[in-house]
């Protein structure tokens, strides 16, 4: 990274504007656009469900609620390991950072794995996004909105896991210290955001 002014600018000390250093403010601003992105997906789900309620069934009839409850539990745990990792690097404990990061990566990957398994199972049951091949209970909008929301959430979790691996890789090379841990903090913010979206998705997709 060339030594332009920004190398200093994302120095950890808060800046005059928002008392939040550039990297963290930038991530928060990016997360606002992610909120709007999920707004358009979840908003469409709410509107389509309001327009065609007959496409949806009682909770637990088509979708496997216990399995996804475990998945939600896993993602909440991964939020804890992530925040533990951040707490470690704040105190300068690089070993703790690497361990907790690895834990977050493992749990995150497990979450995506469970969701993939759930998808395969559902598709076998005929619960698919497209209109023609939909044979499960309820209507095809149920499948279309389900895969749209949980699919993009899964994609975001996968990207999160890849970024965590990159952060772990840099942590291995000692890039983070108690003075400069911007990278860990922003991947933490992203990860908690993805967990937050799943908390909302789990309720409105599986339990309503």
């Amino acid at each position: 990274m060339n030594q332009s002014a920004t190398a200093v600018m994302d120095h950890r000390h808060p800046m005059p504007g928002m008392q939040v250093y550039n990297l963290k403010l930038g991530m928060w601003i990016f997360l606002l656009s992610e909120v709007m992105f999920f707004t358009s997906l979840i908003g469409s789900y709410i509107i389509l469900r309001f327009a065609h309620p007959d496409h949806w069934t009682q909770p637990g009839v088509v979708l496997n609620v216990p399995l996804t409850a475990v998945n939600t539990f896993l993602l909440i745990c991964s939020s804890v390991t992530m925040v533990k990792a951040f707490a470690c690097i704040e105190q300068g404990d690089q070993k703790g950072l690497k361990l907790w990061l690895l834990g977050t990566i493992m749990i995150g990957a497990t979450f995506v794995g469970i969701q993939a398994y759930e998808y395969v199972h559902l598709i076998h049951e005929g619960f698919v996004p497209n209109f023609a091949a939909y044979t499960a209970e309820g209507g095809n909008l149920y499948g279309a909105t389900f895969y749209l929301m949980t699919g993009f959430h899964g994609a975001h979790v996968t990207i999160g896991v890849l970024c965590l691996i990159f952060v772990l890789f840099r942590a291995m090379k000692g890039a983070y210290t108690s003075e400069s841990y911007g990278g860990v903090e922003i991947i933490g913010l992203y990860w908690h955001f993805v967990d937050l979206v799943w908390i909302i998705l789990f309720t409105i997709v599986y339990l309503l």
Binding site: I46, I47, A51, V65, V83, A87, T203, L207
Partner: protein
């Protein structure tokens, strides 16, 4: 940064509350109450959990109030879009 001054963050406590709320949601969802009551209850619990994650895990607690405004700014837009379009159907 400022987080250093509050080393003992209540992470585990929040974790427990989140689990309890999730189990609560699961139990609540399968009670035979009218659909509307179920929906409102579940949504309140979901928002409560979401706020817990945002405030404690995303350290909004230690950020200046302006960051709270920034974090909450897209929500009114989401409500406007969904409410306005819902009047269609």
């Amino acid at each position: 940064m400022e987080a250093k001054e509050h080393p003992n963050q209540p992470y585990i406590l929040i974790w427990v509350i989140l689990l309890v709320l999730t189990l609560g949601e699961l139990g609540y969802a399968f009670m035979d109450l009218p659909k509307i009551v179920l929906a409102i209850g579940l949504i309140i619990m979901a928002i409560w959990k979401a706020l817990l994650v945002a405030i404690y895990y995303m350290h909004l607690r230690h950020e200046p109030r302006r960051m709270w405004v920034l974090a909450a700014s897209p929500l009114p837009l989401a409500v406007i879009l969904v409410m306005a379009v819902l009047t269609e159907f």
